[in-house]
Amino acid sequence: MWLYALRRLLLTLPILFGVTVICFALVQIAPGDPIQNLLSPTASQADADRLRAAYGLDQPLPIQYFIWIGRVLTGEFGMSIANNSPVAGEVFRAFGNTIVIALISVALAFVLSMILGVVAAYRSGSLIDKVITAIAVFGISVPPFWLGVVLVIFFAVNMFWLPATGMGASGSESFSYFDWNDLKFAIMPIIALTLPPLGIMTRTTRAAVSEILSQDFIQTLRAKGLSEMSIMLHAVRNVMPAAVAMFGLQLGYLIGGSVLVETVFTWPGTGFLLNKAILTRDIPLLQGTILVLATAFVLINLLVDLIQSIIDPRIKRS
């Protein structure tokens, strides 16, 4: 077990290295000279060179990378060009707002998809199976940001039930998920974020459960006279490791994929931050946000693998 954990941890290091390389490369592929953005239009060539040297930009690329990674490891992500503030603080503030709605959405999708998937597999071919399959296909096919727009049209514009955008009067500082006046701002983003993972997870659960139901040992259990309820528990227990893997993967996708939904609802998370960075072409902000999100995704996957190795005895000594 511990050997597996250590091994898995070591495997993560080269991935993280690769992630930093890609994030570093983002600045390189961006068109335009980063120095020009920092200079006043009247600056001379000598000024530009001095600034270039100060930022280490006159060094060869590998050296530049190590300078950059050294800064990142000490928590310094550079300065946002747009408002000249440290990127790190801004990113981590936004990250909290993103991770909470992503967690709620995935948890919702997880519970619902287990129920829907098991029911659909049990009633395979029936009307209810078809309805559930249709919901799943819709969830997979719908662009989440458009779903956001439709939700706004329906709940905010037509019905006036929920606020359209933002995080409410209290802002993100004193936002409370236990206060309806705050929570109602989060409801539509959560719905829009829940549907796509719900679709994917429902399909996977349905496929996995019906696979297990067709296996011989289930027939044996039936023949031994077990109740349908306990057979279902057997099936669910066998799907669990796969479901946990999906949970982690989808959580990661939501943390990264919330950029569009957060933009629709102007939810002040990392996605909204990314949108801001794109609009103002603030590459340091873009780079810092992507780095934090990708690292989070890698760490979530690591965590999921470790949890999986605890609940699924087959993985332990591979």
Partner: protein, 296 residues
């Protein structure tokens, strides 16, 4: 997952002798009405995009301040007008060209590039495999939307940049599927038989591997078309797509977002187009997957 009902659709007493793999795939497909219907929808959408100049009632880029945000059916605007008074139907038809291209072209490029790397990695194994697949793993460390936003955000908007971005995002998953399929084929005895008759690796790849790897890769690629369309529309929604005034479903959705209080229905139209196209591609690839699951 083939349903229990699928074999029953096979006319058991039919004297048709199934010739070859693709013939048997078609034989299954032609009784799958859902897939056929979705295929028809896709063909219709493609045709309407191709013939947009003939079908569009108006110039998609001509704005008219007097006719801003007309309702559906108002004054001859069948689907209303947008916030600049441009005809929605015409823009939708023209926008389909960009959106479909963004669904299909990146998948095609990524299939060729990712498939090539995957086959090489799977066939040669060892260090080559390590190098290729570990590099792909790094890309898998990014959720796809995030990777798309990262690359596109750095490169900037525009048709070509969006194409590059989506291709880069789609290469790793296709590479992985091709690699898995290839390494399965590589361990088959007929590959050894080919080698035993003195064939070079290239010859074995061309004659024996590709023909077998093609169907799983194509089935997987077909599932990515709708992913690509949604990703592309998302990028356009963030302003990273084609530059205005060129129409594109994601961009239309983005600009109309300001108008949901005035014309909620019209504002939702581009999204419906994306949704229908994406559902159709998803269901067709589901059908293909089932039809191609022929034990050969």
């Amino acid at each position: 997952m083939s349903d229990i009902s699928a074999p029953a659709l096979f006319p058991a007493a039919a004297p048709v002798h199934v010739r070859g793999y693709w013939a048997s795939v078609w034989n299954r497909l032609r009784y799958d009405y859902v897939t056929l219907f979705c295929l028809a929808v896709i063909i219709l959408i493609v045709l309407s995009a191709v013939f947009a100049p003939m079908l569009a009632p108006m110039d998609p880029d001509r704005s008219s301040m007097a006719n801003r945000l007309r309702a559906i059916g108002d004054r001859g605007y069948i689907l209303g007008t947008d916030e600049q008074g441009r005809d929605m139907l015409s823009r939708l038809l023209y926008g389909g060209r960009v959106s479909l291209a963004m669904g299909i072209l990146p998948v095609m490029f990524a299939t060729v590039i990712g498939g090539m790397f995957g086959v090489i990695a799977g066939f040669f194994g060892g260090k080559v495999n390590m190098l290729i697949m570990r590099t792909m793993d790094v890309f898998f460390a990014f959720p796809s939307v995030l990777l798309a936003v990262a690359i596109s955000g750095s490169l900037g908007g525009g048709f070509t940049n969006q194409l590059i971005t989506l291709t880069v995002v789609l290469v790793p998953p296709l590479c992985r599927v091709a690699e898995t399929a290839t390494s399965q084929i590589r361990s088959m005895d007929f590959v050894d038989a080919g080698r035993a008759s003195g064939a070079s690796s290239i010859s074995i790849i061309v004659h024996h591997v590709l023909i077998n790897v093609m169907s799983p890769v194509l089935v997987y690629a077909s599932t990515l078309v709708s992913v690509s369309i949604i990703l592309a529309s998302g990028l356009s929604f963030l302003g990273l797509g084609v530059s205005p005034p060129t129409a594109d479903w994601g961009l239309m959705l983005s600009t109309l977002r300001q108008s949901i209080y005035v014309q909620p229905l019209v504002s939702a139209i581009p999204g419906i187009a994306i949704l229908i196209t994406s559902i159709a591609f998803n269901l067709v690839s589901d059908g293909l997957r089932q039809a191609m699951d022929v034990k050969g």
